[in-house]
Symmetry: C2
Subunit: 221 residues, 2 copies
Amino acid sequence: MSANSIFAFDVYGTLFNIKSVDTTCEKYFPGRGESIGQLWRQKQIQYSFLRQAMGKYVPFSSVTRDALRFSLAAYHLEWTADTEQTLMEAYNHLSLYEESLYVLQKLKDQSATLIVFSNGSRDMLEPLLEQAGLNDYLDHVISVDDIKQFKPSPASYQLILEAVGAPRHEVTFLSSNGWDISGAKAFGFTTAWINRSEQPIEELQLPPDYQYTTLTPLTQE
Amino acid sequence: MSANSIFAFDVYGTLFNIKSVDTTCEKYFPGRGESIGQLWRQKQIQYSFLRQAMGKYVPFSSVTRDALRFSLAAYHLEWTADTEQTLMEAYNHLSLYEESLYVLQKLKDQSATLIVFSNGSRDMLEPLLEQAGLNDYLDHVISVDDIKQFKPSPASYQLILEAVGAPRHEVTFLSSNGWDISGAKAFGFTTAWINRSEQPIEELQLPPDYQYTTLTPLTQE
């Protein structure tokens, strides 16, 4: 690991466990927590792709709320404004994966440049990073909201280059989302897919350069 | 219904039942046909969105094959090149929904302009329309392949305007896919969502102008 290493981490599903919201969903809709959480995440991602393709950007906090509303309606549930707000706030209190903090610390000790790069708007990202105590380790917090184009658009990944001023292949991009890895690879980053649920590689002819099941191997190279 | 009416129909899921492929999947992978068919369709759509966002277009026949490969791998299945080819060919023999032909005939009798507009590349669309005997009713067969941008990009819907030379709101756009209706609405078409599986409206702030459970009400206005 050289002192010039640059690591760009995706946030949702990569550093933080998005399944944390299932517990809050379960509290309000017993027996349905996991199904709602899963559909919520699926629609959240789909809406970001659709808005990118339509050229109809709105901040990820709005996308996340829209996806929640669709998911609850799809299960024929009724809910109050208070419940909706509590579910939305669950996104500000996601749990870190158990190795995330250690890996960031270790890489920082080795003088790596550490970036988080997310579809999340700052109203979502900032409270999340703050409560998890990550800010001390991060050189850059980059949101696609600065350019109003979601991943996997090339313009979104370009934001990382503008922050670090390095050639693309020197950036190691880490995500648990196979589609995000494909987008980053298409852009020209070195990619490491954190394949936490042992999925097949996306059939997009853009395979990852490295594949791990957790972030831990990053500290062992 | 005026003689100037213009109807643009989506193909997969709107005129043709994409669940037709489940039977072929079931033949090769007993007990898994429906699950494979569902994941195959979901990945097919997702890959078209991703390629649109990444700017990495390939024809829909390639997207469809890639989505099939991912789906079979996700279920830890093994398959031969022959099986893959047979499954792919199932897309050229989808069943029409029971009302599709009658509705097209009826609208044609009323001198409407009838268009099919699809993400499908011509190597998929032409055999499908031919075997179903639809060509006699259609004034235009439009594929996004002509511009190499998938729906729901504005550039894709623009192809319809170029074919008919009419203002956007005079085109009635029909699709069973909520996301396609949102894209068409964002573009400025009059939209009718053929909500066959009684899903909630997509939370994209682009609701359909009309909503039906089949195409039949089009002949009753």
